[in-house]
Symmetry: C2
Subunit: 223 residues, 2 copies
């Protein structure tokens, strides 16, 4: 009975970590969405909210870290649970840095909103949508232990990389055609790179999930 | 006697993790140095070596991860040791991503080496030197548990950030002045951002060290 009680509490602790990670992922996904919206709709108040929201992501990072340490210290998890906890520790860092990137996008959006628009934003929102989905799917793959879904995330990264390169080429054309466009083009370029980094973080998470599930490290082999 | 034997072996395991991390840090520092050298001295063969060397960094990441998991599974470390191991797991990820940034610099260097030089590189090597020192000092702070040194690293990040901004402003002037310079300026800009990211990784490590030593999370408060 004692033992059963212990085990139920332990399961709950692991579940809480899982839930908090999903909560953090959901919030980060929303941040990506809002950061882009603040750019496309030229809404600087929304950009401000995105920048301020980074605190909430940081708070969640510290909370989840602490929960993982508690479980490691008090429950001495083995095998599967141990991999889950150590991965959670790494994943939470990736999520926090995605939050940082969203804050960076918010800052650039605010600057861009003060100048006349250079061009309609078509590819950046597409990139953001994909990057957000990658973050969501990478976390789903983690909590479900779904290697196939994680593999899909790794493959999707190519799409975001290609969009980033396409945007960069296009901006180059703008810059060559009009000197007055250069400063704005550099800022848009920065946002594109932030989105690429967000997709990279999601890919890192997915690669770690595949390692967790298959016990095989594909992090540094071609997918 | 049995117990003493156990404890000596355990200490050795922790020491090995410490040594491997320092080894990885030393190799990463060398990579930063060589990546910049391949640019400044227009040595594309060296750039190739930097790109290829990333494999060695990835191998070390996997080895250290595995060692940490072993200690967590078999030794059930508590308190201080537990924080050390969980931090090692996070730090190794930062080091690996610094390796990725060096590979990116190597790729851009190769491209730039095929075109006429845009300008002498003055600030980029300074930035690289600082970023490399930050990586070294962050790791030293980790293995020594030296919060003061870690705090210095956090402060040094401002210097690298300022250099990056200065380089970006300068490149903007080049681009506005000469359309033919834009493509090369964008590549130099990319290298500058890679170095900034390397310094960010070192800062992340340093912030985690301060947390480990002081038990206080300064990751998300102003330094």
């Amino acid at each position: 009975m004692e033992r059963e009680h212990f085990s139920r509490q332990y399961d709950e602790e692991l579940n809480t970590i899982r839930e908090r990670l999903l909560e953090m992922g959901g919030k980060v996904e929303l941040m990506i969405n809002d950061a882009l919206k603040s750019l496309v709709e030229r809404d600087s108040a929304m950009a401000e909210r995105v920048i301020a929201f980074d605190h909430e992501i940081n708070r969640l990072e510290m909370e989840i870290d602490e929960r993982c340490l508690q479980v490691l210290a008090l429950r001495q998890p083995a095998a599967r649970d141990l991999r889950f906890i150590t991965l959670a520790l790494k994943i939470v860092t990736d999520l926090e840095r995605i939050g940082d990137q969203c804050r960076n996008i918010g800052k650039r959006a605010k600057e861009l909103n003060e100048e006349p628009p250079l061009k309609p934003y078509i590819d950046l929102p597409r990139m953001a949508l994909h990057a957000g989905t990658m973050v969501k799917e990478a976390l789903d793959a983690f909590v479900r232990g779904d290697a196939d879904l994680a593999l899909k995330v790794c493959r999707d990264d190519n799409f975001v990389d290609n969009l980033n390169e396409q945007i960069q080429r296009e901006l180059l054309t703008y810059m060559i055609g009009d000197v007055a466009a250069i400063s704005r083009a550099m800022k848009i370029n920065h946002i594109s790179k932030c989105l690429e980094r967000i997709a990279d973080h999601a890919t890192n998470v997915a690669e770690m999930v595949i390692f967790m599930v298959k016990g095989k490290d594909i992090r540094h082999t071609a997918v």
